[in-house]
Amino acid sequence: MFEKINSHNEVPAREAKAEGNYYNSSKPAIDPGMNERIQKLRKISYETEPSISIERALHLTEFYKANYGKYSIPVLRAMSFLDHCKKKTIYIGEGELIVGERGPSPKTIPTFPELTCHSVEDLNTLNDRELQKYHVSEDDINTYAEEVIPYWEGKTQRERIFDHVPKEWKAAYEAGIFTEFMEQRAPGHTALDGEIYKKGMLDYKIEISEHLASLDYMNDKEATDKADELKAMDIACDAAILFAERHAEQAEKFALEEDNPKRKEELKKIAEVCRWVPAKAPRNFWEAIQMYWFVHLGTITELNGWDAMNPGHFDQHLAPFYEKEIEENNLTRDEAKELLSCFWIKVNNHPAPPKVGVTAKESGTYNDFTNINIGGLKRDGSDGTNEVSYIMLEIIEELHVLQPGNSIHISAKTPDKFLKAGVKVIRQGHGYPSVFNPDIYIQEMIRQGKSIEDAREGGCSGCIEVGAFGKEAYLLTGYLNVPKILEVTLNNGIDPVTGKTVGIETGDPKNFKSFEELYSAFLKQLNFIVDLKIQVSNYIDRMFAKYAPAPFLSVVINDCISKGKDYYDGGPRYNTSYIQCCGLGTVTDSLAAIKKHVYENQKIDMPKLLEAVSNNFKGEEVLRQTIMNKTPFFGNDDDYADNIAVTVYNDLLDAIDGRPNIKDGGKYHLNMLSTTCHIYFGKVLGATPNGRLAGKSISDGTSPSHGADTHGPSAVIKSLSKLDQVKSGGTLLNQRFLPSLLKRDEDIKKLGSLIRSYFTLGGHHIQFNIVDTATLLAAQKCPEDYKDLLVRMAGYSDYFNDMNADLQQEVIERTENDAF
């Protein structure tokens, strides 16, 4: 069942290089895109291979060498950011309308040695590894070794973290019971609200100075720290303005040299836009996009926070500009679409910063998870869809690039017309947009203590995690390998894969008289592990507050200015930490198998099962097949298994939800996403009692185990809806459909109804891969022909060819839904 690949079609339904609906292949085309400009820009973005730029590292190191100790840390960080904005290479590409790159050119990625200083070996690995490769020149490696590495030795966040952690934590980490998000990248998962379209950096500077002036040094012992933070924010505003002005200067210079009159005008316009934003609030559609883009770049240059940056409900933010200019005849729909296409390509120019080690495994992709939220609700609770929403869907389908990720937000108030337009894009089979349910995630956020308006203005960033956009630090702290915790329980605290003690002694399962006894041992292990995880996460949080504050990000997130506190120090209005639990399907099915066969039927005794599991079912195929085919598994709308899933889910919630994260009343909450971590967690896990073999992927998000759901998508949805999803900060459901299920227009409507049904039942998120097994197998065989095959991983799309063999296999093994 788990290994078998069933395919009804021998011939791939999606031909190699098939293009989207909107794309007219009859035109002589350079690349997909609405016109020659976009096609050319897309081509550069698509074809340029990611490489490392050491420019930022050199500027930073030089600045730290000369200035460390002279200023408070926030001021030092802000000045270093300003210094880099002053010196960094400015790039304005041919034909570009939206400008600015984090590196010196598209797809060049800076490093962040203050967090993780890559060794020469790391850089060579990045250069040589097969997947998620980053080119770095021999010269740069040498310069890095001479200038950068010696200074940072012993001073990086990563070293501070790993020097501190207790040995129990290290043992559990090394065994793969959990991962640690902050060891190479800064905490983030940040999206913006609409404020930056109403305020420029100069306005923020006035606010900052007012708060500086009103600090109470007489009574507030934190006043001095607040002053340092506010001064740092002020400097960060200057940095962003300076960065934009340098683009204006460059554009003016290019305009003088430009012969083509049309381009000359464009360059002049670019200069005008960059002189205006981000210093002042944008006045039109073009400026609004460029405004966001500068803020985006500032954030991802200052630090390498997870999930880059996110404009949040971008369609809603742009709508007023669009509508006004259309009304006044200053903008056409095509011009707006062209500007937005330029923005789309800009995001695609920015692959994730390079990751190594376990972090590369939990998130093995170039995708940096910017997730454009389209549709949804407005702050006042009304429907948020507008013409810009539809333009965005067109662009997504037309460009089909890796980034930005995107999602449609379908409330009960969202018109069917928009849902249908979204499903049509889903049908193209690029794995996006994913689909979210505002009616549920708004409740999730209200439960976490947000105001209803702030909750409505929130949404999902990264994969599926919710937050109040523009007002919250909602940090993912790491993944929890829940099936591994069961494995450790079945081995009385020992990790059978390494033989090391990684948990506590909860008794020999051979002596457990009942399922309840086993389950309570599992809960003891779970709570022990969660405690370990939280202790260290809280420590890391403080390390970021102390050593790596983010004054620029703090400017644009409420209420950092009014509190005088950094984004990492409880400055935001809301502060949430998430622990992401993986493998609900695997652990449920394993527990169901034990309950059914060991304790109820008593057909298999515990010692025999444990032995079979520890031998990876070698010589026990009959036992394994019996378990796989005669156990009620999660995802079939069968209460036997579903009730176990509900119990596990509720107990994960109990273990995590509401624990303080020591940031201004902030709390831990449960999250159920897995990114690519279910593959890594499977690798470090022996065979499991559900018949899964050692090393095989565990289930992703809240999806059923691969191949365990045999009753179709409506049964899966019913099973998932038994979880009280409102209590999490996000669940994730992957569904793979055959393209033949979406052939006709009425099929699109029916898939829309399926989504509505899930959301009516309380589902948080659902995403689809519309691709048949034959296509995936063909793509494995002839990668060259399927270079553009995008598939849904877990919360984002990725190029099938950029995925390692394990990930590819995982996608292939997902149940192929076929309703004929």
């Binding site: 009804h8 195929e621 009959v622 036992l623 097949q625 019996t626 085919n629 005669k630 709308d637 009753h711 179709g712 998508p713 409506s714 049964a715 019913k718 299920l741 052939k743 006709r744 009425e746 099929d747 409507k749 029916k750 109804s753 399926l754 509505r756 049904s757 009516t760 039942l761 839904n817 309703a819 004929f820």
Partner: protein
Amino acid sequence: MNSGLIFDVKRYAINDGPGIRITFFFKGCSLNCAWCHNPESISKDIQKMYSADKCIGCGTCVDECPKTALTLTERGIITNSELCNMCGICAEVCPTGAIEMSGRMETVDDIMKMIENEQIFFDQSGGGVTFSGGEPILHYDVLIDLLDKCGERGIHRTVDTAGLVGTEKLLEVAKRTDLFLYDLKMIDEDKHKRWTDVSNKKILENLQKLSKTGAEINIRIPLIKGVNTDDENIVKTAEYVSSLAGKKKKVNLLPYHNIAQKKYTKLGEEYDESGMGEPGKELIDSIVAKFNEYEIEVVVGG
């Protein structure tokens, strides 16, 4: 309690009527079409299905069979049909599901529970329940009971029939059915006999009578090259459909795919596909065009 022999239940059925549906497949059919995609639907008895590719040769079934009817051979499990009394123990103990019993008795209550469980999908999509087969009307009492109960609950009811049933029964069913999917194979009686073992006289008559009641009917025509795709049959079919009373009927054309081979093997039956072919796109287009000449709305698929 009324029970019916069901061989499959399909959830998220999107090709059996409007919206998202749950489809129940009753076992037993009055036709024996050479191209049948669900050969297990034909017999009205419980049948054993065996998939050699799933079998791991563990021999559990051989050991557990009370009649010692099974033998493990190199080609897999062989059943001695003279000894086998279809008790189903082999399927129950088979760890891999290589042996399955096709057909299980389901009570009306259990079927209703399954239907009501899908309510949310009906609500959102305008879907409902479809009774298919086999020939669902062969299970007349159960079907009537189910249709009444669904009617009381306001659930949309579709009946997929091949039409070879008693006229009175068909008309009783019609009183409780919101949409018929009425299968029409071909017009020529001799050919019909040759390909389905039965005459189509009654089928054609029943459809005429059913049409007169004002029932909502979609006509489903399988398209099998070499069997019923010739001009003569298409023209006659179009003429016949045009002549039917009541609202203009919509026609669904279901192009034949040769995918049933595996199922026949599972049943231990021979499948002779000679003379039957998959219609190409051009052929399908020309048939659609012909129907359009008669102003008949045609949908390819579902």
